[in-house]
Symmetry: C2
DNA sequence: CATCCACTGAGCAATATGCCCAGTCAAACC
DNA sequence: GGTTTGACTGGGCATATTGCTCAGTGGATG
């Protein structure tokens, strides 16, 4: 038991197929991959049992939801209060993602907003959070590359990731 | 024709239901929302016709794919070469997302890596891209809040977003 | 009052699902 | 060598789901 087996090429191909047709029935996927229905079903089940799949929310476009504005707020947090700050940020609905970064005690906060005023308000909330020392807000002007994993999936699908 | 209608409460509830059970059959969703099967089918179809849904790739966990390391590379780009830089970055498989930010000509690059050496190599590639002046790499140490939209969806589901 | 739109409820043929089982095959194990 | 394990196949079967169409209802619009 290694505790965590990497996905193999078949899994990668399955994920690629799903990327193409997310709501495709299992049968369709099976045909596409040249596998039996049973196998695909088993793989699929294993995939989300293993937690390979994130929440569906990731697929939803905030812009379509009415929040066309997106920004990245870099914040400096007083030491040891990271969890505390995270808890506070979690309470702000417009906070979409929070990462703890390496340098010192930096936190990267992704927020969405309805408009500039809204963003100003939210940035204010973030700054006002106890434990937050300094913030720097940068607007996302354009998505140059939308979140993607296909290149890595294709790599994984191409060769067997076996040790030898 | 306004050209872009915001989602209404029903859409939001549908998305929430999907967030809970991504592969739920339409029938199950219909029952859950207290709507007819026909309606849910129509809504669903409309949702992705409108582009409300991002690619399925967003749901895949890079860590499970064999890239447990994640980093944010902030780069400074020489003016007017944004698109050019984006094109180059797009060629690097480990580059997962690229945003053009407001301040000056800053670009936020999200990368994943197999390990520290791998990250070093990738960061080097980014820096070596023509048009990139300066980079600063920060490791993602912990996901404090994973990408989420549920709070905003719940808000949208709660009240009618009608003007009056 | 006529029209448009979203939703409902129903029907129907074709397909998919969930589940179970037996058999194959290769790699790992004793 | 002999065996066990794990993954995949192919089959079957009852039930649920899909895709599609049609008719009818109720509200909102002009």
């Amino acid at each position: 038991m290694t505790g965590e087996e990497p996905l193999d090429g078949v899994d990668a191909r399955l994920l690629l197929a799903l990327a193409d047709e997310p709501r495709a029935p299992v049968m369709a996927l099976a045909q596409r991959l040249g596998l039996s229905r049973n196998t695909v079903q088993a793989r699929l089940a294993k995939l989300d049992r293993r937690g390979v799949l994130h929440s569906f929310e990731r697929r939803i476009d905030p812009a379509a939801l009415g929040y066309p504005m997106s920004a990245v707020i870099t914040t400096r947090v007083t030491q040891r209060r990271l969890e505390e700050v995270a808890d506070v940020l979690r309470e702000i609905p417009e906070v979409v993602e929070v990462d703890g970064l390496s340098g010192e005690t930096d936190v990267l906060v992704r927020v969405v907003a309805v408009d500039a005023d809204d963003l100003y308000r939210i940035a204010g909330q973030v700054l006002a959070s106890p434990g937050v020392e300094r913030t720097s807000t940068a607007l996302v002007m354009q998505k140059l590359v939308g979140h993607r994993l296909a290149p890595l999936l294709r790599r994984a699908a191409g060769e067997s990731p076996e040790g030898e």
